[in-house]
Amino acid sequence: MKQVVWGLVILLVILHHDVWLWDDPTLVGGFMPITLLYHAGISIAAGITWFLATRYAWPEGLDGDAGIPEADA
């Protein structure tokens, strides 16, 4: 699963370079420039990918990680 997560990160970096939308002036829904919508989607996809990273690729054996309550300061 760890490899899948890092694969997704690489995929995100590749998909970020949306050369196919370079000259596309479409306004999605009549108001949202398609390139802006696409990159907002990249931001959401990044959030999901990093969520998967914290679940499946979290580094092990870090100091001070055990038994500490997660309630905020």
């Binding site: 990160v9 995100l12 970096v13 970020h16 370079h17 949306d18 050369v19 370079w22 000259d23 596309d24 002036p25 306004l27 829904g29 009549g30 108001f31 949202m32 420039p33 390139t35 802006l36 696409y38 990159h39 907002a40 990249i42 931001s43 959401i44 990044a46 959030g47 990093w50 969520f51 990273a53 914290t54 979290w58 580094p59 054996g61 870090l62 100091d63 001070g64 990680d65 500490i68 997660e70 309630a71 905020d72 300061a73």
Partner: protein, 553 residues
């Protein structure tokens, strides 16, 4: 005058919060600089996000979208969503772990220990401080511009009308600017608003007071409060501007009307008419710029405040989403500002002012399209974004000076904990004063200055990455990397005429085709090559030392 009263109220509230948090101060330098490692996930997310979102994000992104179009979001925001969280994940957690284990307070302490070199601190200290100061300048300059724009009047037949202050309220050198004909002009100066120099001074003073008394805990609390303020007010302002600019009954119809007016060259990234567009390779190499967060000394300090490694999970996941919430409205507003609906409706002197200084696009739009009350609140929101970065940077410089210079080279057993806090506070006052004086000189565009500053930090990314993940890195390799990064930054910065050339790129010609790249790509290439080559030809570090930083040696 209403916006000025709201801004004053907001600053007073912030001061109250800073002073309140100082009552929780435990009196130790560790508490002053690292909040005694007590920050949980929510405060960590808000303080890290508030720190990374600066004038660059709000004022700079709107101004740059006004100049270059909606492609600005992909250039820096969505790439930052990927790269910032990557840095938190691959660097932040590890550095927090080392800091927790070996008691570091600053980046330089980590590098000195990891590379077994005392002198590396002397090399890094001026470089890091030198790069943080332009970053500070961005905030100080932008805060002055924003407050002035929001309180200034508009050109009338007999001079400026509706300004917060009459001509003659302040000394002439604060009020007068240079008019289009080269003669002193009130309209081209403060134009009835609070003079920029005075506004910047007030912001510096407010930040100084709450950092001085509250330390890291006050900074984290103030950042959290300010992050909430600028996110909420940003969304409210976006809605108000859309409704007013679109001028339709429903929100959706107004959005459509506003976006339909965006000029073609702001919708796409290819060339249109005189607009050269953005080259694809330049866009690709922009992705190196956000690597800068891996080397921000103030972010390192925030990482160390975390209560546990698990506190990083929320910032890692939520950071890209938060970036989207802040940047998408700003970029869209900037593109709308370039349309005939807005720009075309402005008097020529104001058009010229906007083209000369895109940093004021957002405040000018807010002022023209919303009411004074919302204008005041939005100004507070923009100032919140600016101050939530300034505070961390001021505190970080005070900490670095105390820990890396005074305590490291001074008589350790003769400097008490209380004296450490005092030294940090005094140095913070000095840095605020220096930054303020530098800000009085005429600014470059916030965005351009920001990109150069971030590029400098990004060029040091290979060093921190190799320190954590490459056992073969040697002390000499680290020195070579820093020198290559610094040397290439200085050379390219000079080549760009010290940021006067806003669209400076490093160009390569292959087969008759010229490829444009961002200077940061060359800097990272130089520092990485120097790091790898010199490390490979010098003696590797001893295994015993490496075992402190690597699980298997």
């Amino acid at each position: 005058m209403i916006p000025l009263i709201i801004i004053a109220g907001y600053l007073a509230l912030l001061l109250g919060l800073g002073l309140f948090s100082s009552r929780l101060f435990r009196g130790t330098s560790r508490d002053y600089m690292l909040a005694s490692h007590s920050i949980g996930p929510v405060l960590l997310l808000m303080s890290i996000f508030g720190t990374t979102m600066t004038a660059f994000a709000l004022v700079g992104s709107t101004g740059e979208a006004f100049k270059e179009g909606v492609g600005v979001y992909g250039m820096l925001a969505s790439s930052s969503g990927i790269i910032h969280s990557l840095c938190f994940f691959v660097l932040g957690i590890r550095l927090w772990s080392f800091g927790h284990r070996y008691g570091y307070t600053t980046q330089i302490q980590f590098f000195r220990d990891r590379l077994q070199s005392d002198r590396i601190g002397l090399l890094l200290f001026p470089i890091l401080v030198g790069l943080v100061i332009p970053y500070l300048l961005i905030g100080v300059m932008a805060s002055g511009s924003v407050i002035n724009s929001m309180t200034a009047g508009r050109p009338g037949p007999d001079g400026v009308v509706d300004g917060a202050f009459e001509q003659g309220t302040f000394p002439e050198f604060l009020e007068m600017g240079q008019g289009p004909d080269g003669r002193p002009s009130f309209a081209a100066g403060s134009a009835g608003g609070l003079p920029k120099q005075l506004a910047s001074l007030i912001i510096c003073g407010v930040v100084l007071i709450y950092v001085f008394f509250g330390g890291m805990r006050g900074t984290a609390w103030a950042n959290t409060f300010q992050t909430i303020v600028f996110m909420v007010l940003g969304i409210v302002t976006f809605s108000m501007i859309a409704m007013k600019l679109g001028g339709k009954e429903s929100f959706l119809e107004s959005l459509r009307a506003a976006s339909a007016a965006i000029p073609q060259d702001k919708l796409i990234r290819g060339p249109v008419g005189d607009h050269p567009g953005l080259s694809k390779l330049k866009f690709l190499t922009y992705m190196f710029v956000p690597l800068s967060v891996g080397m921000f000394p103030h972010l390192f300090q925030h990482w160390l405040t975390a209560r546990s490694a698990r506190s990083f999970k929320l910032p890692v996941v939520a950071h890209p989403i938060f970036i989207m919430i802040v940047w998408v409205p700003c970029v869209l507003i900037g593109a709308w500002a370039a349309s005939d609906l807005f720009f075309g409706s402005l008097p020529p002197p104001l058009q010229a002012k906007l083209e000369a200084n895109p940093n004021i696009v957002l405040p000018v739009m807010v002022k023209k399209l919303t009411n004074p009350v919302l204008g005041g609140f939005l100004t507070a929101g923009i100032l919140a974004a600016i101050m939530s970065s300034l505070d961390s940077q001021f505190l970080c410089l005070g900490t670095m000076f105390t820990e890396d210079i005074v305590k490291h080279y001074g008589p350790k057993d003769r400097i008490s904990d209380r004296q450490s806090v005092l030294i940090a506070r005094l140095f913070i006052i000095g840095i605020v004063a220096v930054t303020y004086v530098l800000s009085l000189f005429e600014p470059r565009a916030v965005f351009t200055l920001g990109v150069w500053c971030f590029s400098g930090f990004a060029s040091l990314f290979p060093l921190v990455f190799a320190c954590i993940y490459w056992k073969r890195l040697t002390r000499a390799g680290a020195y070579a990397s820093i020198i290559a990064a610094f040397g290439s930054w200085c050379y390219l910065f000079a080549e760009s005429e010290f940021a006067r050339n806003r669209s400076y790129t490093v160009n390569f010609t292959l087969g008759g085709v010229t490829y444009e790249t961002m200077p940061v790509a060359s800097m990272i290439l130089a520092s990485t090559a120097a790091l790898v080559l010199v490390s490979l030809i010098t003696r590797p570090p001893d295994r015993e030392h490496l075992s402190r930083f690597f699980d298997s040696v």
